[in-house]
């Protein structure tokens, strides 16, 4: 599989504190990759680094071979990376329709935007009846749909999702997983940061485990699920 997004030997700092130590990872084309880790492992900083919200001290971020390290966020969005931010961060006072159009903000191909608008509504038919509703008044699950639809409106090659199941009811977690799988079927790669390891690995192709800024384990999702170290650390399997 061709690599889409790559982080190579990234070292990030918050002031004097080092957050990432030679972090390297790859998201191939048309794949779901998850990054697992507990609190303060550096997950969110990884997300920020990809999106250009945090500039690493050394190392490189490339998208389809192009160096995007330190580019302003709008440029990175234009390079084909869209996000579903942590806690979704919808524009709550704006309508669902406006939220979707904001997703396409970096584009200027009107016919393409219209086409994707229809396509996204086809993917999330439930939003069709809610187009005029203020996004902030919807349920958590519906908001997650809007956030994913909004990301798709950028016609990205890659969607970064920060804890997509956080704060959702268990019933809806399964629904979100289905949605992520649907997104991948449209040819878009997904890079997902999660605490919920079993859930993330159940749909991912490949996984990385981050611990205090270092990748300590990586492999195909199936292998990781079976790995005793993962089981003990994340799946609460004390027997291992």
């Amino acid at each position: 599989m061709k690599p889409l997004l790559q982080l190579e030997n990234v070292n990030s700092f918050y002031g004097p504190v080092q957050v990432h130590f030679d972090l390297s990872l790859t998201v191939p084309e048309n794949a779901i990759v998850c990054l697992l880790g507990g609190n303060a492992s550096g997950k969110s900083t990884t997300m920020k680094t990809i999106l250009g919200l945090q500039v690493p001290k050394s190392g490189k971020v490339t998208m389809e071979g192009r160096d995007i390290t330190g580019l302003p966020t709008p440029e990175i969005v234009r390079a084909g990376i869209a996000t579903v931010p942590e806690a979704r961060r919808l524009f709550g006072d704006m309508t669902v329709r406006e939220n979707l159009l904001m997703g396409a903000y970096a584009r200027s191909d009107k016919p393409g935007i219209d086409e994707d608008y229809e396509k996204v509504l086809g993917l999330f038919p439930r939003l069709k009846q809610r187009l005029g509703q203020k996004a902030g008044t919807m349920s958590g699950g519906e908001q997650q749909m809007v956030a994913m639809a909004r990301a798709l409106m950028a016609r990205p090659r890659l969607i970064c999702m920060d804890e997509p199941t956080m704060g959702l009811s268990p019933l809806f977690v399964d629904r979100v997983l289905e949605l992520i799988a649907t997104v991948r079927q449209t040819g878009v790669s997904v890079f997902m940061v999660e605490q919920n390891a079993s859930m993330a690995l159940s749909i991912a192709d490949y996984g990385y485990v981050l611990q205090t800024g270092r990748i300590v384990l990586e492999g195909p999702a199936g292998d990781l699920l079976a790995d005793p170290r993962i089981r003990s650390a994340y799946l609460g399997d004390t027997a291992a």
Binding site: P74, R89, E98, Y105, A106, A154
Partner: protein
């Protein structure tokens, strides 16, 4: 009953029409402030200066060149819009990564600079403005409405409609709304936040400039000194409407216009500004989210601790301090009476700056109404001693009065944070000054207090320049020493804890209002003494001696030295008060100097010369 019928007989409809017309101009001002507060989370104190720029561009077009009104409005919008965008680009954007108070202070600096430039270019006296608008008036019921009223209302409505179309019908407008809600998320959608900010400052500038032109047309004259007052009107309107709420700002402007117009009808024109500030205080205290929002909770402003730039303070070595004190003590021996006098004034400013640096730096309540404390001290001592009380007693009473009254007045503001403290203290400062102006029986009103007796110690008057110099120096060193001792004590640590995180401090059992009260009390005493001594030095004071500019000046001094830093406050006072005096050529451009100093300082050394303590 007779009074009721005379009340009924007043021309209420006329009052309401003029209130709505003036209110629509306030609304134009307020909309710009609300937009800026929305996307940049900033109260733009330079908004009034843009208003004045608009007024003068309008004058140049209408009177200077003789352009028709329609063209003039377009030119005014374009030029003042460009001015607004430039302010964002040059003064605000470079401060992106600084503490929240930095851009607010920068806009104060920009306001001073722009106002002074207008004074230099157009002279500081008001000039006539007429636009040949027909003079007819239409009779409606028992009121009348004139062509000028219709022109103004129509311009305001069209401007608001254009703004609405921009916000809701264009892509950039959508980005503006998105940024106002969540700038991080907007950035992740590919929105260029800088471009949005610049656009918003430009739009606000254009609307503010048009407001300046309209006010000029309404009164047939433009006043280069109206900037701050108009900015404050806009600010009151957005507080009524709910800060970042654009339709609310329009409603707030109209309401303020009506309140003012009715109030003037009932109480007379000299109270005009008082209504605005009383409304402001009432709103801040009871409906900080504005009257159009249901919630009574004040919006979370996560700026405690980060509002003021914190750094490690420079500690001056003890020997150096003693050497500097020594130099200060023997300075009058050089027999340069002018310099001695200038330095005496600088030390008086130093006393006031010591008080402010305690409240704003150590406790973190950034005050733009500090002049009020100084004025209370000055008036208390001046009024009592002109009636025969000994001067030394008057000074102490002046300090005590400022401590008590100041704390009592500021107490309701203690629950406010960040921007709201700045707005609230500003309103308090204006209210104190307006009460002094209007309470003629006690304060002598606009005439001020004359023939205030000179300084004295135990009945011996200090007539000489040197004697008063030493007296003031001793007083300042005494208060500074006291403040240093306090800061090192348990009390000082508690104050800093409140500044860093009020909520956390309270969970550890700190009764934060009590400690804020102590800080205001001590600072009020120092500031009151400064005011009292100043009154005896000058022998004349009036309501305008300690105005908003005075507050801004003291704040500049405290920031220059480093907020919270005791020796910094004194250094800042000496630099700001004495430097323009030493270079007489600068004196004429003093405000330009202060404003530019403030902007440069915040840009390049926000922690002040000696660092904040």
């Amino acid at each position: 009953m007779e009074s009721l019928s005379s009340l009924m007989a007043m021309p209420w409809l006329d009052y309401s029409i003029s209130g709505l017309v003036i209110g629509s101009i306030y609304a134009l001002m307020a909309v710009g402030l609300a937009l800026i507060f929305g996307v940049a989370n900033l109260i733009n104190f330079a908004h009034g200066a843009v208003f004045t720029v608009g007024a003068y561009i309008g004058w140049t077009c209408l009177v200077g060149i003789g352009l028709p009104l329609g063209v003039t409005i377009v030119v005014v919008a374009a030029v003042s819009g460009a001015a607004g965008a430039l302010i964002e680009w040059l003064a605000i954007r470079p401060l992106n990564r600084q503490s929240r108070i930095a851009p607010l202070l920068a806009t104060i600096g920009v306001a001073l600079v722009l106002d002074q430039i207008i004074h230099i270019v157009f002279s500081p006296t008001p000039r006539a403005l007429s636009a040949n608008i027909p003079d007819w008036r239409l009779q409606i019921g028992n009121g009348t409405i004139g062509a000028i009223d219709i022109t103004i209302a129509l311009t305001a409505i069209l401007s608001a409609a254009a703004l609405y179309a921009f916000l809701f019908r264009t892509k950039l407008g959508m980005a503006v709304r998105a940024t106002a809600q969540d700038d991080d998320a907007a950035k992740q959608m590919g929105v260029n936040i800088n471009a949005v900010n610049m656009t918003v400052f430009g739009i606000a500038g254009a609307l503010g400039g048009i407001a300046g032109l309209l006010v000029g047309l309404y009164y047939n004259s433009i006043d280069p000194n109206a900037s701050f007052q108009m900015m404050l009107k806009g600010m009151v309107a957005i507080v009524i409407g709910g800060m970042a709420n654009v339709p609310g700002a329009i409603g707030g402007g109209l309401i303020l216009g009506l309140i003012e117009s009715w109030g003037i009808g009932l109480f007379g024109a000299s109270y005009r500004n008082l209504f605005a500030f009383v409304v402001l205080l009432v709103m801040l205290l009871f409906r900080p989210n504005g009257i159009f929002s249901r919630g009574k909770e004040r919006p979370a402003e996560p700026m405690t601790g980060t509002f003021v730039t914190q750094t490690k303070a420079v500690t001056l070595p003890k020997p150096l301090i003693w050497v500097l004190i020594g130099i200060a003590v023997i300075l009058p021996m050089a027999n340069m009476p002018y310099i001695t006098q200038v330095m005496t004034n600088a030390y008086l400013y130093g006393l006031a700056a010591l008080a402010l640096t305690l409240v704003s730096g150590t406790v973190g309540l950034v005050s733009i109404g500090h002049a009020a404390l100084v004025a209370i001290g000055a008036y208390a001592s001046a009024l009592l001693t002109t009636k025969g009380l000994p001067v030394s007693l008057g000074i102490v009473i002046g300090g005590a009065a400022a401590a008590l009254l100041g704390t009592a007045l500021a107490y309701p503001a203690f629950r406010l944070r960040g921007h709201y403290v700045a707005i609230g203290t500003l309103a308090l400062g204006e209210i104190v000054s307006l009460v002094i102006l209007n309470w003629e029986g006690v304060t002598n009103g606009a005439l001020g207090v004359f023939a205030i007796p000179p300084l004295e110690i135990f009945g011996f008057p200090l007539y000489g320049t040197k004697a008063s110099y030493w007296f003031v120096l001793a007083l300042m060193l005494l208060m500074a020493g006291l403040q240093v001792r306090l800061l090192k004590s348990h009390l000082g640590r508690t104050w800093k804890a409140i500044r860093e995180d009020t909520v956390a401090a309270e969970t550890y059992g700190v009764a934060s209002n009590y400690y804020k009260g102590l800080a205001f009390g001590f600072a009020g005493f120092t500031a009151g003494i400064a005011g009292a001594v100043t009154a005896h030095q000058w022998s004349f004071i009036n309501y305008d001696s300690f105005n908003l500019l005075f507050s801004v000046l003291i704040l500049t001094m405290a920031i220059l030295g480093g907020l919270g830093n005791v020796s910094g406050a004194i250094l800042g006072a000496i630099l700001v008060a004495a430097l323009p005096e030493m270079f007489r050529t600068l004196a004429e451009y003093r405000m330009l100097f202060y404003g530019a100093a403030l902007i440069i300082l915040i840009r390049f050394r926000p922690q002040g010369l000696l660092g904040s303590g």
